[in-house]
Symmetry: C2
């Protein structure tokens, strides 16, 4: 089933037990002091229990600039906490762990923000040194590598950006100029940590803003990170691609600092449920193709709404990426890797990409999954093997009301506790059902249902361990098709070439077709 | 070579001579009076000379609301001009022609714009009637069909939009509500023109704005247009998909009315050169898959940076779309279909997607192609068969200066006139060259070149008929790779585990690799 996904993968000196990666994700679990605390530790140990190949710990600052709750790696005082974090993760499973390290600029509640154009050469010099020193600390703390944050709306991403307006050698139209600081950072980090310490970089495959860069440049950026601008310096050891998440299209809320995931590019960064799976995969493909063409085996991590181990395996089989990043799917169920490895994919608690986590983050709350039981700040954990059962033979009922299809059901029972219900839908007369939603209550309205389609539904209950009940009874419903024409009440002149007032019933499927050249000449 | 592209294709009562479509494109060639004039006629006759399968004439208003230069079909006084236009096109070649008909809301220079929430039921009723009457006029004028404009920032698109905020049965979350007016329009149009008159609809495959709809809904919209909300009414005869072009992210210029193609969604509507070819194809694929699943053979027209007949054929061969829309490529060379059909693809004047046409439109100028000779308002036409020749054996020279690669060349000569020069580039040691730019002068700077890549270039001169010279000599260049580290001048402590100060030369291509389970267990 998973010929590639569970093959170990070596990146420089670390060997991942599998190809699944947890990309850095804001938790807002740390205090403003920047020290590792119990909640943070619990969060990442939980991922290690789930056996994900690589854990990228959320962004920690290389400098001490003011911010909300954010981890820090900007001084030696943070090392004991980080060392303990790395040790606890290593003591849990074979998961490898790297911190993502970040530099960001100042920002104010009135909408003002510092721009990269405001930085002096001395400021730039300091950023380089801070990245170097933070990377060295990462090594000294026992992490397996370090990831340089050059994505979204932060300092190094703003240098890479096509919107970089610096008039000097660090900016303007030239990609070489825009990459100058990012490459200087790579060079300094390598100088500090040595060649045998894995150094990754996360940056944007597309900026997803007006005039932003696309894969045309991001594939060249990948190559240049691998080359490290020198034949004698080891380049980055992996490329991790994100998309969007920019300030340029962010929506400013009065009294709050501008938050870079609130615009269209924020949706492209964390595609919500209405986007197709793997929407950003073409970016990883482009970067990987470029690297291979130049003889670099540098692995590329694809991210962006990759929901299942089955889809992940398919991506690997088709050589579209080397490693698979899952953020929201692993938040929903940190045990996804372990369950898949054990052949228990069916027990995975499936992310529905409704972005409760994203909304919590945007509103400066602790980030949890909306599918978890209320008040938990970590994913539940259970080794129970007994599935929920239905108390009646046909628990599911359907009702069409006010142009919507409403499902309601009798609750299932479980030896431990019911965690939620999966809703499965078919729009092809039951030939195939897709999981379209999960919910903790016992009713749901299908706002996506449209008239003209006959839908079938069933639900499955699941418990804290992800054990699923058998499917409920199947119900079906269809919204009324007819759309009244207001003008029908009024007499309006109809053209004379139309003889009858009632439109004839027509054959739908055969009225339009490609015709051969001979036929068309006859017509 | 073109097994499908030049197969005639029947849509209801019209048979297209091939699968190429000119989508509606603003020309700004009409006067504010809305009547057909000589420039408009010349523009569309020129496309007919080029033998494109279907010409969709630029949007013409179904109502008389004030606007800039825009064709009108809102009264019988416009019929003589439109009739003559259709006749002239039909008299030129087998190209079929349909007008695109549009309703738009009011807009002011101070940024105010009327919203669909402001429309009364009587206003809505009037829109339905206006579409019906305009469609009937299209038939009476001798057009082969009619296309209903429901894309971009205009009235019917705003109803379809997920941003539709009407609180009544014409809006809100429900897709059925949002489709109510569009389907009433289809129903009324069908009532007026009859079942045997082709009716197409152009709408968005994705809105490409925050919270806009995606293919999840646009595929259902396709189905509902085919169903026409009734088993007794013939639905639309073709689906044409665009993307973006919305007001929501448009950039307001002081003193100008808000223009809906000025934001990110405007780029997605007309993807500029930095986007991959066929960037919006997944939208056509999704709609087509949905239609076929429900037994509808309704053809789907894909558009969005489809540059060549070869790529068009590939799309058809892979069943990703039924018809291929090319706007900018046909503006650059209206003879593209004829040249391809005659096996003379090499004579096509290639669009470079630098969007001079888009910029002219945004600035309210007549829309021409930046590749055309200066001062022409129509594409040049020539039957000359003699190609340009180089006056010296090695006309092309290259220079690396200020971090850029600059090409310059001796001009070629031609029996008629040189139209321009194509620049071809290789980044894989000459294994493959791509056409990356065209220019009318005799020098060019490659702003996309990045250090670390060895580029090779050649150029070809072409004349007004598109005859190409032999390739020039090949030149090669590479930008300097080294990035100086400002910190190198300063002594910074290096970690003690690093023994030597110089980084060792490393083998690049074999340092990172997937390892087998056995190997990884050993490491």
């Amino acid at each position: 089933m998973f010929a590639k996904l569970f093959t170990p993968y070596r990146i420089n000196s670390m060997t991942l037990p599998n190809r699944l990666v947890l990309p850095a994700m804001v938790t807002r679990l740390s205090g403003e002091d920047g020290f590792v605390n119990k909640d943070i530790t619990d969060r990442y140990v939980r991922y290690a229990q789930g056996e994900v190949g690589l854990i990228v710990v959320e962004a920690m600052a290389v400098h001490s600039a003011k911010s909300g709750p954010l981890l820090r790696i900007c001084g030696d005082e943070f090392k004991p906490g980080l060392t303990e974090l790395a040790q606890k993760i290593h003591g849990t499973s074979n998961s490898k762990v790297v911190p993502q390290i970040i530099h960001f600029l100042k920002i104010a509640r009135n909408g003002w923000r510092q721009k990269i154009e405001d930085l002096s050469i001395a400021d730039i010099q300091l950023i380089i040194e801070q990245y170097g020193q933070a990377s060295l600390r990462a090594r000294e703390c026992g992490f397996d590598g370090v990831e340089l944050h050059m994505a979204h709306a932060y300092t190094l991403s703003s240098f890479l950006s096509k919107k970089n307006k610096r008039p000097d050698l660090y900016g303007g139209k030239s990609l070489d100029n825009r990459m100058r600081l990012p490459l200087q950072v790579v060079k300094e980090v390598r100088r500090m940590v040595g060649d045998d310490f894995p150094v990754g970089v996360r940056y944007l495959g597309e900026e997803c803003i007006k005039g932003g860069y696309t894969t045309e440049e991001s594939q060249v950026i990948a190559l240049k990170f691998a080359q490290a601008a020198s034949p004698t310096i080891r380049g980055v050891d992996y490329i991790s691609l994100s998309a969007g998440g920019k300030f340029e299209d962010a929506v400013h809320k009065d009294g709050e600092v501008l938050y870079p995931y609130t615009g269209y590019s924020g949706d492209r960064c964390m595609p919500p449920m209405e986007y197709p799976d793997g929407y950003n995969l073409h970016m990883a493909e482009a970067a990987r193709r470029m690297l291979r063409r130049y003889g670099f085996e540098t692995p590329v991590i694809a991210t962006g709404k990759i929901p299942s181990p089955e889809f992940a395996e398919e991506i690997l089989q088709n050589d579209r990426a080397d490693l698979i990043g899952m953020a929201r799917a692993l938040l929903a169920d940190p045990d996804l890797p372990r369950k898949a490895r054990m052949g228990e994919s069916d027990k995975i608690v499936k992310c529905i990409y409704w972005n409760v986590c994203k909304a919590l983050d945007e509103n400066f709350h602790q980030v949890v999954c909306g599918l978890w039981p209320k008040d938990l700040i970590q994913a539940p954990r259970s080794d129970d093997a007994i599935a929920p059962v239905w108390s009646v033979p046909a628990p599911l009922a359907v009702l069409v009301r006010s142009g919507n299809i409403r499902l309601s059901w009798k609750q299932a029972t479980d030896n431990e506790a019911i965690m939620g219900y999966e809703v499965w839908r078919s729009d092809d007369a039951g030939a195939s059902f897709s999981h379209i939603y999960s919910i903790t209550t016992s009713m749901w309205t299908d706002h996506l249902a449209a008239s003209g389609i006959r839908y079938q539904y069933y639900i499955r209950a699941y418990d804290l361990a992800g054990n699923k009940s058998v499917p409920s009874n199947v119900v079906s419903a269809e919204l009324p098709l007819e759309v009244a024409l207001p003008s029908e009440a009024k007499p309006i002149a109809r053209p004379s070439f139309l003889k009858s007032t009632a439109s004839p019933v027509i054959e739908r499927s055969s009225t339009i077709a490609a015709v051969s050249i001979e036929e068309s000449l006859k017509s």
